[in-house]
Symmetry: D2
Subunit: 137 residues, 4 copies
Protein backbone atom coordinates (compact mmCIF):
# COMPACT_ATOMS: atom_id res chain seq x y z
CA UNK A 1 0.00 0.00 0.00
CA UNK A 2 1.28 3.45 -0.82
CA UNK A 3 1.89 5.66 2.18
CA UNK A 4 3.88 8.79 2.85
CA UNK A 5 4.80 10.98 5.79
CA UNK A 6 5.37 14.72 5.93
CA UNK A 7 6.03 17.10 8.80
CA UNK A 8 4.21 20.33 9.62
CA UNK A 9 5.01 22.92 12.25
CA UNK A 10 1.85 24.43 13.81
CA UNK A 11 1.63 28.20 13.31
CA UNK A 12 0.22 30.68 15.80
CA UNK A 13 -2.34 31.65 13.14
CA UNK A 14 -3.72 28.10 13.30
CA UNK A 15 -4.55 28.14 17.01
CA UNK A 16 -7.73 29.54 18.53
CA UNK A 17 -8.56 30.93 21.95
CA UNK A 18 -9.08 27.40 23.31
CA UNK A 19 -5.27 27.32 23.13
CA UNK A 20 -5.23 24.52 20.55
CA UNK A 21 -5.42 24.18 16.76
CA UNK A 22 -8.85 25.27 15.45
CA UNK A 23 -10.72 22.22 14.15
CA UNK A 24 -11.04 23.66 10.64
CA UNK A 25 -7.28 24.17 10.39
CA UNK A 26 -6.50 20.45 10.21
CA UNK A 27 -7.68 20.37 6.58
CA UNK A 28 -4.79 22.40 5.18
CA UNK A 29 -2.50 20.02 7.10
CA UNK A 30 -4.15 17.05 5.37
CA UNK A 31 -3.88 18.89 2.05
CA UNK A 32 -0.10 19.31 2.56
CA UNK A 33 0.13 15.63 3.42
CA UNK A 34 -1.60 14.57 0.19
CA UNK A 35 0.34 17.06 -1.91
CA UNK A 36 3.71 15.85 -0.63
CA UNK A 37 2.59 12.22 -1.01
CA UNK A 38 1.79 12.86 -4.69
CA UNK A 39 5.03 14.79 -5.18
CA UNK A 40 6.96 11.78 -3.85
CA UNK A 41 5.56 9.84 -6.81
CA UNK A 42 7.29 12.19 -9.21
CA UNK A 43 4.39 14.42 -10.19
CA UNK A 44 3.12 17.43 -8.29
CA UNK A 45 -0.51 18.40 -7.78
CA UNK A 46 0.45 21.65 -9.53
CA UNK A 47 1.50 19.52 -12.54
CA UNK A 48 -1.91 17.84 -12.50
CA UNK A 49 -3.62 21.23 -12.63
CA UNK A 50 -1.38 22.24 -15.54
CA UNK A 51 -2.72 19.31 -17.57
CA UNK A 52 -6.28 20.32 -16.65
CA UNK A 53 -7.01 17.97 -13.76
CA UNK A 54 -8.38 19.22 -10.46
CA UNK A 55 -9.10 17.18 -7.37
CA UNK A 56 -12.03 18.63 -5.44
CA UNK A 57 -12.79 17.16 -2.01
CA UNK A 58 -16.25 15.55 -1.95
CA UNK A 59 -16.47 13.80 1.40
CA UNK A 60 -14.73 13.83 4.79
CA UNK A 61 -15.03 11.69 7.90
CA UNK A 62 -12.74 12.63 10.74
CA UNK A 63 -12.14 12.29 14.46
CA UNK A 64 -10.33 14.66 16.81
CA UNK A 65 -8.67 12.53 19.49
CA UNK A 66 -6.24 14.92 21.20
CA UNK A 67 -5.61 18.60 20.50
CA UNK A 68 -2.62 19.73 18.44
CA UNK A 69 -0.91 22.74 19.98
CA UNK A 70 1.09 25.75 18.87
CA UNK A 71 4.61 24.97 17.65
CA UNK A 72 3.98 21.20 17.66
CA UNK A 73 5.91 19.44 14.93
CA UNK A 74 3.21 17.21 13.50
CA UNK A 75 3.66 14.08 11.42
CA UNK A 76 0.99 13.72 8.73
CA UNK A 77 0.66 10.14 7.49
CA UNK A 78 -1.11 9.77 4.17
CA UNK A 79 -2.01 6.37 2.78
CA UNK A 80 -4.04 5.07 -0.13
CA UNK A 81 -5.69 1.78 0.85
CA UNK A 82 -6.90 1.03 -2.69
CA UNK A 83 -5.82 2.01 -6.18
CA UNK A 84 -8.43 4.27 -7.76
CA UNK A 85 -10.47 2.50 -10.45
CA UNK A 86 -12.71 5.37 -11.52
CA UNK A 87 -13.08 9.13 -10.87
CA UNK A 88 -12.86 8.66 -7.10
CA UNK A 89 -9.86 8.42 -4.79
CA UNK A 90 -9.93 7.99 -1.03
CA UNK A 91 -7.04 8.77 1.27
CA UNK A 92 -6.66 7.71 4.87
CA UNK A 93 -4.73 10.25 6.88
CA UNK A 94 -3.50 10.43 10.43
CA UNK A 95 -1.80 13.20 12.34
CA UNK A 96 0.66 12.34 15.09
CA UNK A 97 2.68 14.34 17.58
CA UNK A 98 6.07 12.79 18.18
CA UNK A 99 6.41 9.13 17.35
CA UNK A 100 3.21 7.68 18.66
CA UNK A 101 0.64 10.16 19.91
CA UNK A 102 -2.30 10.00 17.50
CA UNK A 103 -4.17 13.33 17.45
CA UNK A 104 -6.48 13.14 14.47
CA UNK A 105 -7.57 10.75 11.77
CA UNK A 106 -9.56 11.23 8.61
CA UNK A 107 -10.88 9.51 5.52
CA UNK A 108 -11.13 11.97 2.69
CA UNK A 109 -12.63 11.32 -0.70
CA UNK A 110 -11.81 13.40 -3.79
CA UNK A 111 -12.76 13.31 -7.45
CA UNK A 112 -10.54 13.60 -10.49
CA UNK A 113 -12.11 16.44 -12.42
CA UNK A 114 -11.43 17.54 -15.99
CA UNK A 115 -11.36 21.32 -15.70
CA UNK A 116 -11.93 22.07 -19.39
CA UNK A 117 -14.67 19.52 -20.05
CA UNK A 118 -16.10 20.23 -16.58
CA UNK A 119 -16.74 16.55 -15.97
CA UNK A 120 -15.36 13.61 -14.03
CA UNK A 121 -12.17 12.01 -15.27
CA UNK A 122 -9.70 9.38 -14.00
CA UNK A 123 -6.21 9.44 -12.52
CA UNK A 124 -3.59 10.19 -15.22
CA UNK A 125 -1.91 7.00 -16.46
CA UNK A 126 1.57 8.23 -15.55
CA UNK A 127 0.59 8.63 -11.92
CA UNK A 128 -1.38 5.39 -11.81
CA UNK A 129 1.60 3.47 -13.16
CA UNK A 130 3.80 4.84 -10.41
CA UNK A 131 1.27 3.83 -7.80
CA UNK A 132 0.75 0.31 -9.10
CA UNK A 133 4.17 -0.81 -7.90
CA UNK A 134 2.99 -0.30 -4.30
CA UNK A 135 0.14 -2.77 -4.71
CA UNK A 136 1.97 -5.70 -6.34
CA UNK A 137 1.59 -8.90 -4.47
CA UNK B 1 -36.87 19.68 16.83
CA UNK B 2 -34.79 22.78 17.33
CA UNK B 3 -33.48 24.32 14.14
CA UNK B 4 -32.14 27.71 13.17
CA UNK B 5 -31.01 29.51 10.03
CA UNK B 6 -28.34 32.13 9.58
CA UNK B 7 -26.90 33.83 6.51
CA UNK B 8 -23.26 34.18 5.53
CA UNK B 9 -21.71 36.14 2.68
CA UNK B 10 -18.72 34.35 1.13
CA UNK B 11 -15.51 36.40 1.35
CA UNK B 12 -12.78 36.51 -1.26
CA UNK B 13 -10.39 35.20 1.39
CA UNK B 14 -12.47 32.02 1.57
CA UNK B 15 -12.09 31.09 -2.11
CA UNK B 16 -9.15 29.20 -3.59
CA UNK B 17 -7.68 29.07 -7.07
CA UNK B 18 -10.28 26.49 -8.14
CA UNK B 19 -12.58 29.55 -8.10
CA UNK B 20 -14.76 28.15 -5.32
CA UNK B 21 -14.78 28.08 -1.52
CA UNK B 22 -11.83 26.04 -0.15
CA UNK B 23 -13.16 22.86 1.45
CA UNK B 24 -11.67 23.71 4.85
CA UNK B 25 -13.44 27.06 4.92
CA UNK B 26 -16.91 25.55 5.35
CA UNK B 27 -16.13 24.82 9.01
CA UNK B 28 -16.13 28.45 10.14
CA UNK B 29 -19.49 28.76 8.33
CA UNK B 30 -20.84 25.84 10.34
CA UNK B 31 -19.39 27.39 13.49
CA UNK B 32 -21.28 30.64 12.79
CA UNK B 33 -24.43 28.60 12.22
CA UNK B 34 -24.15 26.84 15.58
CA UNK B 35 -23.18 30.04 17.40
CA UNK B 36 -26.19 31.95 16.09
CA UNK B 37 -28.45 28.96 16.80
CA UNK B 38 -27.33 28.96 20.44
CA UNK B 39 -27.63 32.76 20.64
CA UNK B 40 -31.26 32.46 19.48
CA UNK B 41 -31.89 30.43 22.64
CA UNK B 42 -30.90 33.38 24.80
CA UNK B 43 -27.35 32.39 25.71
CA UNK B 44 -24.25 32.99 23.62
CA UNK B 45 -21.37 30.57 23.18
CA UNK B 46 -19.23 33.38 24.63
CA UNK B 47 -21.45 33.21 27.75
CA UNK B 48 -20.81 29.48 27.98
CA UNK B 49 -17.07 30.08 27.92
CA UNK B 50 -17.44 32.70 30.65
CA UNK B 51 -18.95 30.05 32.95
CA UNK B 52 -16.08 27.71 32.09
CA UNK B 53 -17.68 25.52 29.44
CA UNK B 54 -16.00 24.89 26.10
CA UNK B 55 -17.36 22.87 23.21
CA UNK B 56 -14.53 21.19 21.28
CA UNK B 57 -15.41 19.46 18.01
CA UNK B 58 -14.68 15.73 18.23
CA UNK B 59 -16.11 14.27 15.02
CA UNK B 60 -17.23 15.43 11.58
CA UNK B 61 -18.91 13.71 8.67
CA UNK B 62 -19.60 15.90 5.67
CA UNK B 63 -20.37 15.90 1.97
CA UNK B 64 -19.61 18.57 -0.63
CA UNK B 65 -22.41 18.47 -3.20
CA UNK B 66 -21.97 21.69 -5.19
CA UNK B 67 -19.33 24.39 -4.78
CA UNK B 68 -20.09 27.63 -2.95
CA UNK B 69 -18.71 30.64 -4.77
CA UNK B 70 -17.40 34.11 -3.99
CA UNK B 71 -20.06 36.59 -2.84
CA UNK B 72 -22.73 33.88 -2.53
CA UNK B 73 -25.17 34.64 0.24
CA UNK B 74 -25.35 31.26 1.94
CA UNK B 75 -28.06 29.96 4.24
CA UNK B 76 -26.69 27.81 7.03
CA UNK B 77 -29.33 25.53 8.56
CA UNK B 78 -28.47 24.14 11.97
CA UNK B 79 -30.63 21.54 13.65
CA UNK B 80 -30.39 19.37 16.72
CA UNK B 81 -32.13 16.02 16.08
CA UNK B 82 -31.87 14.90 19.70
CA UNK B 83 -31.59 16.59 23.08
CA UNK B 84 -28.16 15.93 24.57
CA UNK B 85 -28.30 13.47 27.47
CA UNK B 86 -24.62 13.40 28.39
CA UNK B 87 -21.39 15.23 27.47
CA UNK B 88 -22.04 14.85 23.74
CA UNK B 89 -24.08 16.95 21.35
CA UNK B 90 -24.54 16.36 17.64
CA UNK B 91 -25.68 18.99 15.17
CA UNK B 92 -26.91 18.40 11.65
CA UNK B 93 -26.06 21.29 9.38
CA UNK B 94 -26.78 22.11 5.78
CA UNK B 95 -25.62 24.97 3.60
CA UNK B 96 -27.86 26.24 0.84
CA UNK B 97 -27.52 28.86 -1.87
CA UNK B 98 -30.80 30.63 -2.50
CA UNK B 99 -33.92 28.86 -1.40
CA UNK B 100 -33.28 25.32 -2.46
CA UNK B 101 -29.80 24.59 -3.79
CA UNK B 102 -28.10 22.31 -1.27
CA UNK B 103 -24.32 22.73 -1.41
CA UNK B 104 -23.00 20.97 1.66
CA UNK B 105 -24.18 18.90 4.59
CA UNK B 106 -22.51 17.83 7.77
CA UNK B 107 -23.00 15.99 11.03
CA UNK B 108 -20.76 17.43 13.67
CA UNK B 109 -20.27 16.09 17.16
CA UNK B 110 -18.95 18.21 20.04
CA UNK B 111 -18.31 17.66 23.73
CA UNK B 112 -19.26 19.87 26.65
CA UNK B 113 -15.97 20.41 28.41
CA UNK B 114 -15.34 21.86 31.85
CA UNK B 115 -12.34 24.09 31.28
CA UNK B 116 -11.25 24.37 34.92
CA UNK B 117 -11.68 20.70 35.87
CA UNK B 118 -10.40 19.69 32.42
CA UNK B 119 -13.03 16.98 32.12
CA UNK B 120 -16.30 16.23 30.38
CA UNK B 121 -19.42 17.99 31.59
CA UNK B 122 -23.02 18.37 30.44
CA UNK B 123 -25.10 21.11 28.82
CA UNK B 124 -25.91 23.87 31.35
CA UNK B 125 -29.43 23.46 32.74
CA UNK B 126 -30.52 26.94 31.61
CA UNK B 127 -29.76 26.09 28.01
CA UNK B 128 -31.22 22.60 28.23
CA UNK B 129 -34.48 23.99 29.62
CA UNK B 130 -34.78 26.35 26.67
CA UNK B 131 -34.21 23.52 24.25
CA UNK B 132 -36.71 21.14 25.83
CA UNK B 133 -39.66 23.17 24.59
CA UNK B 134 -38.70 22.24 21.02
CA UNK B 135 -39.01 18.52 21.74
CA UNK B 136 -42.41 18.43 23.49
CA UNK B 137 -44.79 15.99 21.93
CA UNK C 1 -16.27 62.03 0.84
CA UNK C 2 -17.68 58.57 0.30
CA UNK C 3 -17.78 56.40 3.39
CA UNK C 4 -19.65 53.30 4.41
CA UNK C 5 -20.07 51.13 7.50
CA UNK C 6 -20.60 47.41 7.79
CA UNK C 7 -20.80 45.06 10.75
CA UNK C 8 -18.87 41.84 11.31
CA UNK C 9 -19.23 39.27 14.06
CA UNK C 10 -15.87 37.79 15.13
CA UNK C 11 -15.72 34.01 14.66
CA UNK C 12 -13.93 31.55 16.94
CA UNK C 13 -11.83 30.55 13.92
CA UNK C 14 -10.45 34.09 13.80
CA UNK C 15 -9.03 34.10 17.33
CA UNK C 16 -5.66 32.73 18.33
CA UNK C 17 -4.28 31.39 21.60
CA UNK C 18 -3.55 34.93 22.82
CA UNK C 19 -7.34 35.02 23.24
CA UNK C 20 -7.81 37.79 20.66
CA UNK C 21 -8.22 38.08 16.89
CA UNK C 22 -5.04 36.95 15.06
CA UNK C 23 -3.43 39.98 13.43
CA UNK C 24 -3.66 38.49 9.93
CA UNK C 25 -7.41 37.98 10.28
CA UNK C 26 -8.22 41.68 10.18
CA UNK C 27 -7.62 41.72 6.42
CA UNK C 28 -10.70 39.67 5.53
CA UNK C 29 -12.66 42.11 7.75
CA UNK C 30 -11.30 45.03 5.73
CA UNK C 31 -12.11 43.15 2.53
CA UNK C 32 -15.74 42.75 3.65
CA UNK C 33 -15.83 46.45 4.47
CA UNK C 34 -14.64 47.46 0.99
CA UNK C 35 -16.91 44.92 -0.73
CA UNK C 36 -20.02 46.17 1.06
CA UNK C 37 -18.97 49.78 0.44
CA UNK C 38 -18.77 49.09 -3.30
CA UNK C 39 -22.05 47.16 -3.24
CA UNK C 40 -23.76 50.19 -1.66
CA UNK C 41 -22.84 52.08 -4.84
CA UNK C 42 -24.93 49.70 -6.91
CA UNK C 43 -22.19 47.45 -8.29
CA UNK C 44 -20.65 44.46 -6.57
CA UNK C 45 -17.00 43.49 -6.64
CA UNK C 46 -18.23 40.21 -8.16
CA UNK C 47 -19.73 42.31 -11.00
CA UNK C 48 -16.35 43.99 -11.51
CA UNK C 49 -14.69 40.59 -11.88
CA UNK C 50 -17.36 39.55 -14.39
CA UNK C 51 -16.36 42.46 -16.63
CA UNK C 52 -12.70 41.44 -16.28
CA UNK C 53 -11.53 43.84 -13.59
CA UNK C 54 -9.64 42.64 -10.52
CA UNK C 55 -8.44 44.74 -7.62
CA UNK C 56 -5.23 43.29 -6.16
CA UNK C 57 -3.95 44.81 -2.92
CA UNK C 58 -0.53 46.42 -3.44
CA UNK C 59 0.22 48.21 -0.20
CA UNK C 60 -0.94 48.23 3.42
CA UNK C 61 -0.16 50.41 6.41
CA UNK C 62 -1.96 49.52 9.59
CA UNK C 63 -1.97 49.91 13.37
CA UNK C 64 -3.37 47.58 16.00
CA UNK C 65 -4.59 49.74 18.88
CA UNK C 66 -6.71 47.40 21.00
CA UNK C 67 -7.44 43.70 20.45
CA UNK C 68 -10.72 42.55 18.93
CA UNK C 69 -12.16 39.56 20.75
CA UNK C 70 -14.31 36.54 20.04
CA UNK C 71 -17.98 37.32 19.37
CA UNK C 72 -17.35 41.07 19.22
CA UNK C 73 -19.70 42.80 16.82
CA UNK C 74 -17.26 45.01 14.94
CA UNK C 75 -18.05 48.11 12.92
CA UNK C 76 -15.84 48.43 9.84
CA UNK C 77 -15.70 51.99 8.49
CA UNK C 78 -14.50 52.31 4.94
CA UNK C 79 -13.83 55.68 3.35
CA UNK C 80 -12.30 56.94 0.16
CA UNK C 81 -10.52 60.26 0.80
CA UNK C 82 -9.89 60.94 -2.90
CA UNK C 83 -11.51 59.93 -6.16
CA UNK C 84 -9.19 57.63 -8.11
CA UNK C 85 -7.61 59.34 -11.11
CA UNK C 86 -5.55 56.46 -12.48
CA UNK C 87 -5.08 52.72 -11.84
CA UNK C 88 -4.70 53.24 -8.08
CA UNK C 89 -7.29 53.51 -5.34
CA UNK C 90 -6.62 54.00 -1.63
CA UNK C 91 -9.11 53.25 1.10
CA UNK C 92 -8.91 54.38 4.71
CA UNK C 93 -10.48 51.87 7.03
CA UNK C 94 -11.14 51.73 10.73
CA UNK C 95 -12.50 48.99 12.94
CA UNK C 96 -14.50 49.90 16.04
CA UNK C 97 -16.10 47.94 18.85
CA UNK C 98 -19.35 49.52 19.96
CA UNK C 99 -19.81 53.16 19.14
CA UNK C 100 -16.45 54.62 19.89
CA UNK C 101 -13.71 52.15 20.75
CA UNK C 102 -11.20 52.26 17.91
CA UNK C 103 -9.35 48.93 17.61
CA UNK C 104 -7.55 49.07 14.30
CA UNK C 105 -6.90 51.42 11.43
CA UNK C 106 -5.45 50.90 7.98
CA UNK C 107 -4.63 52.56 4.70
CA UNK C 108 -4.84 50.07 1.89
CA UNK C 109 -3.89 50.67 -1.70
CA UNK C 110 -5.20 48.56 -4.58
CA UNK C 111 -4.85 48.58 -8.35
CA UNK C 112 -7.52 48.26 -10.99
CA UNK C 113 -6.28 45.38 -13.10
CA UNK C 114 -7.52 44.23 -16.51
CA UNK C 115 -7.53 40.45 -16.15
CA UNK C 116 -7.57 39.63 -19.87
CA UNK C 117 -4.97 42.16 -20.98
CA UNK C 118 -2.99 41.50 -17.79
CA UNK C 119 -2.26 45.19 -17.34
CA UNK C 120 -3.32 48.18 -15.26
CA UNK C 121 -6.67 49.75 -15.99
CA UNK C 122 -8.92 52.39 -14.39
CA UNK C 123 -12.12 52.38 -12.37
CA UNK C 124 -15.14 51.58 -14.60
CA UNK C 125 -17.01 54.77 -15.61
CA UNK C 126 -20.31 53.56 -14.13
CA UNK C 127 -18.74 53.21 -10.70
CA UNK C 128 -16.79 56.45 -10.96
CA UNK C 129 -19.96 58.35 -11.85
CA UNK C 130 -21.68 57.04 -8.76
CA UNK C 131 -18.77 58.07 -6.60
CA UNK C 132 -18.47 61.58 -8.02
CA UNK C 133 -21.65 62.71 -6.31
CA UNK C 134 -19.92 62.26 -2.94
CA UNK C 135 -17.19 64.73 -3.85
CA UNK C 136 -19.30 67.63 -5.15
CA UNK C 137 -18.55 70.90 -3.51
CA UNK D 1 22.85 42.51 11.88
CA UNK D 2 20.87 39.41 12.74
CA UNK D 3 19.06 37.84 9.83
CA UNK D 4 17.60 34.43 9.12
CA UNK D 5 15.98 32.60 6.24
CA UNK D 6 13.27 29.98 6.25
CA UNK D 7 11.37 28.23 3.47
CA UNK D 8 7.61 27.88 3.09
CA UNK D 9 5.64 25.87 0.56
CA UNK D 10 2.43 27.67 -0.53
CA UNK D 11 -0.70 25.62 0.24
CA UNK D 12 -3.82 25.47 -1.91
CA UNK D 13 -5.75 26.82 1.09
CA UNK D 14 -3.68 30.01 0.88
CA UNK D 15 -4.64 30.89 -2.70
CA UNK D 16 -7.78 32.76 -3.72
CA UNK D 17 -9.80 32.83 -6.93
CA UNK D 18 -7.40 35.40 -8.44
CA UNK D 19 -5.11 32.34 -8.72
CA UNK D 20 -2.52 33.78 -6.35
CA UNK D 21 -1.89 33.90 -2.59
CA UNK D 22 -4.59 35.96 -0.80
CA UNK D 23 -3.02 39.17 0.51
CA UNK D 24 -3.95 38.37 4.12
CA UNK D 25 -2.19 35.01 3.96
CA UNK D 26 1.30 36.52 3.81
CA UNK D 27 1.12 37.30 7.53
CA UNK D 28 1.30 33.68 8.71
CA UNK D 29 4.33 33.35 6.38
CA UNK D 30 5.97 36.30 8.11
CA UNK D 31 5.05 34.79 11.48
CA UNK D 32 6.80 31.53 10.54
CA UNK D 33 9.83 33.54 9.44
CA UNK D 34 10.08 35.35 12.78
CA UNK D 35 9.42 32.19 14.78
CA UNK D 36 12.18 30.26 13.02
CA UNK D 37 14.52 33.24 13.32
CA UNK D 38 13.99 33.30 17.09
CA UNK D 39 14.35 29.52 17.32
CA UNK D 40 17.72 29.78 15.57
CA UNK D 41 18.85 31.86 18.54
CA UNK D 42 18.22 28.94 20.88
CA UNK D 43 14.87 29.95 22.34
CA UNK D 44 11.47 29.34 20.79
CA UNK D 45 8.55 31.74 20.77
CA UNK D 46 6.68 28.96 22.59
CA UNK D 47 9.36 29.17 25.32
CA UNK D 48 8.77 32.91 25.57
CA UNK D 49 5.05 32.33 26.12
CA UNK D 50 5.86 29.75 28.81
CA UNK D 51 7.72 32.41 30.79
CA UNK D 52 4.74 34.75 30.37
CA UNK D 53 5.90 36.90 27.46
CA UNK D 54 3.72 37.48 24.42
CA UNK D 55 4.58 39.45 21.33
CA UNK D 56 1.48 41.10 19.85
CA UNK D 57 1.84 42.78 16.46
CA UNK D 58 1.15 46.52 16.73
CA UNK D 59 2.04 47.94 13.32
CA UNK D 60 2.60 46.73 9.76
CA UNK D 61 3.79 48.40 6.58
CA UNK D 62 4.00 46.17 3.54
CA UNK D 63 4.17 46.11 -0.24
CA UNK D 64 3.00 43.41 -2.63
CA UNK D 65 5.36 43.46 -5.62
CA UNK D 66 4.62 40.22 -7.47
CA UNK D 67 2.08 37.52 -6.61
CA UNK D 68 3.12 34.32 -4.87
CA UNK D 69 1.47 31.27 -6.41
CA UNK D 70 0.30 27.83 -5.38
CA UNK D 71 3.11 25.36 -4.62
CA UNK D 72 5.80 28.07 -4.78
CA UNK D 73 8.67 27.34 -2.44
CA UNK D 74 9.11 30.74 -0.83
CA UNK D 75 12.14 32.07 0.98
CA UNK D 76 11.23 34.27 3.93
CA UNK D 77 14.08 36.56 5.00
CA UNK D 78 13.78 37.99 8.47
CA UNK D 79 16.17 40.60 9.76
CA UNK D 80 16.43 42.83 12.79
CA UNK D 81 18.04 46.15 11.82
CA UNK D 82 18.38 47.33 15.43
CA UNK D 83 18.62 45.69 18.82
CA UNK D 84 15.48 46.39 20.84
CA UNK D 85 16.07 48.91 23.65
CA UNK D 86 12.59 48.98 25.15
CA UNK D 87 9.25 47.14 24.78
CA UNK D 88 9.30 47.47 20.98
CA UNK D 89 10.94 45.32 18.33
CA UNK D 90 10.79 45.86 14.59
CA UNK D 91 11.54 43.20 12.00
CA UNK D 92 12.19 43.73 8.32
CA UNK D 93 10.98 40.82 6.26
CA UNK D 94 11.12 39.93 2.60
CA UNK D 95 9.62 37.06 0.68
CA UNK D 96 11.39 35.73 -2.41
CA UNK D 97 10.63 33.09 -4.98
CA UNK D 98 13.78 31.31 -6.09
CA UNK D 99 17.03 33.09 -5.54
CA UNK D 100 16.21 36.61 -6.53
CA UNK D 101 12.57 37.33 -7.30
CA UNK D 102 11.30 39.65 -4.58
CA UNK D 103 7.53 39.23 -4.10
CA UNK D 104 6.72 41.03 -0.89
CA UNK D 105 8.36 43.14 1.78
CA UNK D 106 7.22 44.27 5.20
CA UNK D 107 8.22 46.14 8.30
CA UNK D 108 6.43 44.75 11.29
CA UNK D 109 6.51 46.14 14.79
CA UNK D 110 5.66 44.06 17.88
CA UNK D 111 5.63 44.67 21.61
CA UNK D 112 7.02 42.51 24.37
CA UNK D 113 4.05 42.00 26.65
CA UNK D 114 3.96 40.59 30.17
CA UNK D 115 0.91 38.36 30.10
CA UNK D 116 0.42 38.14 33.87
CA UNK D 117 1.00 41.81 34.69
CA UNK D 118 -0.81 42.78 31.47
CA UNK D 119 1.73 45.47 30.73
CA UNK D 120 4.68 46.18 28.46
CA UNK D 121 7.95 44.46 29.20
CA UNK D 122 11.34 44.04 27.48
CA UNK D 123 13.14 41.28 25.61
CA UNK D 124 14.32 38.55 28.02
CA UNK D 125 18.04 38.96 28.83
CA UNK D 126 18.93 35.47 27.59
CA UNK D 127 17.60 36.27 24.14
CA UNK D 128 19.09 39.76 24.07
CA UNK D 129 22.52 38.38 24.93
CA UNK D 130 22.35 35.97 22.02
CA UNK D 131 21.39 38.76 19.68
CA UNK D 132 24.12 41.17 20.80
CA UNK D 133 26.82 39.10 19.14
CA UNK D 134 25.31 40.00 15.75
CA UNK D 135 25.72 43.72 16.35
CA UNK D 136 29.35 43.83 17.52
CA UNK D 137 31.45 46.19 15.54
Amino acid sequence: MFSHETQIRVRYAETDQMGVVYHGNYFPFLESGRVEAIRSLGMSYADLEKIGIQMPVVEIQCKYLRPARYDDLLRVLTSLPKLPTDHRIEFHQEIYRDSDELLFKAQIKLYFWDKDKNEKTVMPAALLDRLKSFYHE
